[in-house]
């Protein structure tokens, strides 16, 4: 008897993947080489379109039919993957390689229960019926799901975000695979849930499995990865031990990704290398908005909704806040904390059961004498003063409108100037958000995520507002694009003296942008105060738990790069 030798799980030399299209081949992965040993975690990091996901799919043989894969060496679990038949691949998938996708809500069949999905993996690999039930429950339990007997009979839409991501991991690991590939496993999750899932993945690694972790967020992978490979345009531009890559990045793109992570250290500094925008002058529109009064002030807001069982659920419970002019108030909370309802009340769209909101000193929502006294007719003339930017700009645009039409439509609502002047103003707005003028006739669908969010910001600026309500404005964006949008928002605030109500579940982002912070939980204000004190010395256990869950980056050793980046000056409307 000999002890088994620790064979590497993956050995890849010069992997190339291209897709044949009617316009010729598109090369997505170029000359990629990497290796993975059991018990190790390798992170592939890069923006969308960098080739991470295609690399991962190549490792389970599930690329699109028009993909062409070549490699000098592509050993997956000791087998030459370039020669594997579909039969052999199927024997590997699920059994020896577990594959975890991003969002369990769409990555598990919404019509089937979690148990059925896990059962499918067992059945595909010939596990006997008598054993299956027990193994389903064991897999769910191992993934940290309480009451597996109950959960196995539920569908993913009936589970909370954390539980359903655990179920997704359970269906990929039920057969004890030696290699687990996780593609953005925590991207859609709240910070605390994200931390739990990362711990679960760390547990898999400790059991001796190899882990490939794919993410656009360096902060997330820094918690887990032994090795990091940074990908850009299909190539690995830098790779090495995690501490080495994060602490002493050699490639400019790696530094850019590291700088893009918003955190306390970055407060007031620029996160990206894009030039500052020049906005010109402050609002010229006349308004009853009092510049010296609080931009937005909420007093003891209460909102209840009827629950399905007939009782009333309190969604917003005595929430008060003050947004001082020219500053940013960050609202933090997990899903269901009442952030969105508070935002709707602040926007004057939902009438609170009790409490009042004033906008620039004017009565805006609710009234001390009872709800409904401040009517829409009173609010209407002041609506331009407060504007909204959503998380998902695409669904807030009419897909048939061009960018120009999106912007002029907003101007039409305020009946500003002649149609011709509105077209000029639309062009000016594009410049304000740092977009080139030649985008003006494009449709939103053809723009990138970052460009769309800039158009959404331009639209919000169209009527020269004093307050912007930013509802998770960067949550759907890659870290590097997020950095550019956050920088843009900082420029606009400074030059237009805007006040921001900034809602996010990402504490890193809030820490970067906010002057004051409000922490919401179950509709109540758990803690509020100055960002500088609240983040350094949180007084409640809940805030501490939230802060602990934020993936932290190791301290940077190179700070010289940052100073050169802040030296960029404005270049106006290009």
């Amino acid at each position: 008897m000999t002890t088994p030798v620790q064979h590497p799980l993956l050995t890849i030399d010069n992997l190339n993947v291209s897709f044949s299209t009617p316009r010729g081949p598109v090369h997505v992965v170029r000359d990629l080489s990497l290796a993975l040993a059991p018990g190790q975690a390798l992170a592939l990091v890069g923006e969308s379109g960098s080739g991470k996901t295609v690399t991962a799919r190549t490792l389970v043989g599930l690329n699109a039919p028009n993909a062409r894969v070549t490699a000098d060496r592509l050993d997956v679990l000791g087998q030459d993957a370039t020669r594997l038949s579909e039969r052999r691949w199927r024997a590997l998938r699920g059994k020896d390689i577990g594959y975890v996708l991003q969002d369990a809500l769409v990555s598990l069949d919404p019509l089937r229960t979690v148990g059925q999905e896990i059962d499918e993996a067992l059945r595909a690999h010939g596990v006997r019926r008598a054993e299956r039930q027990e193994r389903i429950h064991a897999a769910l339990r191992d993934a940290g799901i309480p009451d597996p007997e109950v959960r196995a009979r539920q569908r993913s839409n009936e589970l909370s975000g954390g539980l359903r991501q655990r179920a997704l991991i359970a269906q990929a690991t039920v057969l004890d695979p030696r290699l687990v590939i996780a593609d953005e496993p925590t991207t859609a999750l709240d910070a605390t849930v994200q931390a739990q899932i990362l711990d679960l993945l760390a547990g898999l690694k400790e059991q001796g499995r190899g882990l490939i972790l794919i993410s656009h967020d360096l902060a997330v992978v820094s918690r887990l990865a032994d090795e990091i490979a940074v990908m850009q345009h299909g190539r690995i531009v830098e790779s090495g031990r995690a501490a080495e890559v994060l602490g002493n990045p050699q490639h400019a793109y790696t530094r850019q990704l590291i700088d893009a992570v918003p955190s306390a250290a970055g407060r007031g500094t620029r996160l990206s290398s894009v030039p500052r925008v020049a906005v010109g002058t402050a609002p010229s529109r006349t308004s009853a908005f009092a510049a010296e009064a609080p931009a937005l002030e909420a007093r003891t807001l209460v909102k209840t909704y009827p629950a399905p069982d007939g009782a009333r659920r309190t969604v917003v419970d005595h929430v008060s806040f003050t947004l001082q002019p020219g500053t940013t108030l960050g609202i933090v909370g997990e899903s269901g904390s009442g952030k969105s309802t508070t935002a709707r009340i602040a926007l004057g769209l939902t009438e609170p059961d009790a409490g009042t909101v004033t906008l620039g000193g004017l009565s805006w929502m609710g009234h001390p004498d009872g709800p409904g006294i401040v009517t829409e007719a009173v609010r209407r003339p002041h609506r331009p003063d407060i504007q909204l930017v959503n998380q998902d700009p695409l669904s807030s645009f009419d897909p048939r409108f061009s960018v120009q039409r999106v912007l002029t439509d907003a101007l039409d609502a305020g009946a500003v100037g002649s149609p011709h002047e509105r077209e000029d103003r639309a062009a000016e707005l594009l410049g304000q958000v740092g977009l080139p003028l030649d985008l003006i006739h494009r449709r939103p669908l053809t723009l990138s995520g970052g460009q769309r969010q800039r158009v959404a910001i331009a639209r919000a600026l169209a009527l020269q507002p004093r307050v912007l309500l930013l509802d998770e404005p960067v949550s759907a964006l890659d870290v590097s694009i997020q950095a550019q949008v956050l920088d843009l928002l900082a420029d606009l605030q400074e030059q237009l003296h805007l006040s921001y109500l900034f809602i996010s579940h990402d504490l890193g982002v809030i820490h970067h942008v906010a002057d004051h912070v409000l922490v919401l939980k179950d509709g109540r204000v758990v803690e509020s105060g100055d960002a500088s004190t609240l983040f350094v010395a949180p007084t409640t256990a809940y805030t501490r738990a939230l802060l602990d869950a934020v993936p932290a980056m190791p301290v940077r050793t190179s700070s010289a790069a940052g100073s050169t980046r802040t030296a960029h000056t404005s270049e106006g409307a290009a």
Binding site: A91, A172, S335
Partner: protein
């Protein structure tokens, strides 16, 4: 889906998919709604038929050729209640319906139900088999051609458009010529068990299958592109298994909704097949009744078709909940 849109009840205790009370209430509401629809269709048909020109007495007396005396006309009017105001006639008709009495045929002078009743089953058999054939064809197209390369995709698409645009009467005549007259595999006409049902059912099913397949194709395509399909493949499932256990279930959902409409329209378009293949059925009765101005039979056929339509919609609702359990849990999960 992003964090901010996750369910508000995240982390709550395990919940059951639906409560008995909610389902019971939903069914009660649906049945009440159905009765209302049935009443509305009876009322509308009743008054519309009264508005059409011509005197029912002429129909009762056997057409325009007869020359009855004033006394005969008056006596008949009284006998059929036609001397009453329309509203009284309407209430009388509704009262009769509640007792299951559809009145007396003007033309045949016998209770309407004796004429219409025996016609219901043949039409239901025809429409039912047509629906089964249509689904069979549509699913075959979907499973064989969707996502199987550009050529097969194109072939599937073209055949669907072709089928959907064929008129049922033309299909019926072609089928009769080829399979009944030339090949002699099926009887040309008549009502002689299952064999005689095949061609009429196919002539209705072929155009319908085109419609259903177009809907299932696009949802099948959507389903195949979903991440859960990738998850299933990554568990080691083969292509065929993924198509059948995952994509197909998503694909038939919109088709089920379409089927409710299809059954209703099959009931009325059955007349084409019934006439070409000389079968008994509701469609024939309706056409004959309209040409003869036999109002009681016309009304009865409309009531039967409306009732079938309503029942099928109820059944489809239940079926939809079986295929898509999310539908019934929406209320409690929100």
């Amino acid at each position: 889906m992003t964090a901010s849109t996750a369910p508000l009840t995240a982390g709550a205790a395990p919940r059951t998919t639906t409560t008995a009370g909610a389902t019971g209430r939903a069914i009660t509401r649906r049945v009440a709604g159905s009765v209302l629809v049935l009443w509305a269709s009876v009322t509308l048909t009743f008054f519309v038929l009264r508005l059409t020109p011509g005197d029912p007495i002429t129909a009762i007396l056997g057409g325009a050729g007869s020359a009855p005396s004033e006394e005969t006309v008056a006596a008949l009017r009284a006998e059929y209640g036609l001397d009453q105001p329309v509203i009284v006639q309407y209430l009388g008709y509704l009262g009769g319906l509640l007792r299951g009495d559809f009145g007396t045929s003007y033309v045949f002078q016998v209770p309407v139900w004796d004429i219409v009743g025996p016609q219901i089953l043949p039409t239901l058999q025809l429409a039912g088999l047509a629906l089964v054939f249509a689904w069979g064809l549509a699913l075959t197209f979907t499973l064989l051609t969707v996502g199987r390369g550009r050529v097969l995709d194109g072939v599937g698409r073209s055949v669907e458009v072709l089928f959907a645009s064929l008129p049922a009467f033309w299909v019926g005549i072609m089928l009769a010529v080829v399979f009944a007259v030339t090949l002699g595999w099926f009887p040309v006409a008549g009502d002689d068990g299952f064999v005689s049902l095949v061609l009429p059912a196919l002539s209705l099913a072929i155009p319908l299958s085109g419609f259903i397949a177009q809907v299932t194709r696009s949802s099948f395509e959507d389903a195949l592109a979903q991440p859960f399909v990738l998850s299933a493949r990554a568990r080691g499932l083969g292509d065929t298994a993924v198509r059948i256990t995952h994509a197909l279930r998503h694909a038939i959902l919109p088709g089920i909704t379409l089927s409710a409409w299809a059954v209703g329209s099959l009931m009325s378009s059955a007349v084409v097949a019934e006439i070409i293949f000389a079968r008994p059925g509701l469609g024939r009765s309706l056409v004959d009744a309209i040409t003869n101005r036999d109002l009681p039979i016309t009304l009865a056929v409309v009531v039967v078709i409306a009732a079938v339509y309503i029942l099928v919609n109820l059944a489809v609702d239940v079926l939809y909940r079986v295929v898509d359990p999310r539908t019934s849990s929406k209320g409690s999960a929100a």
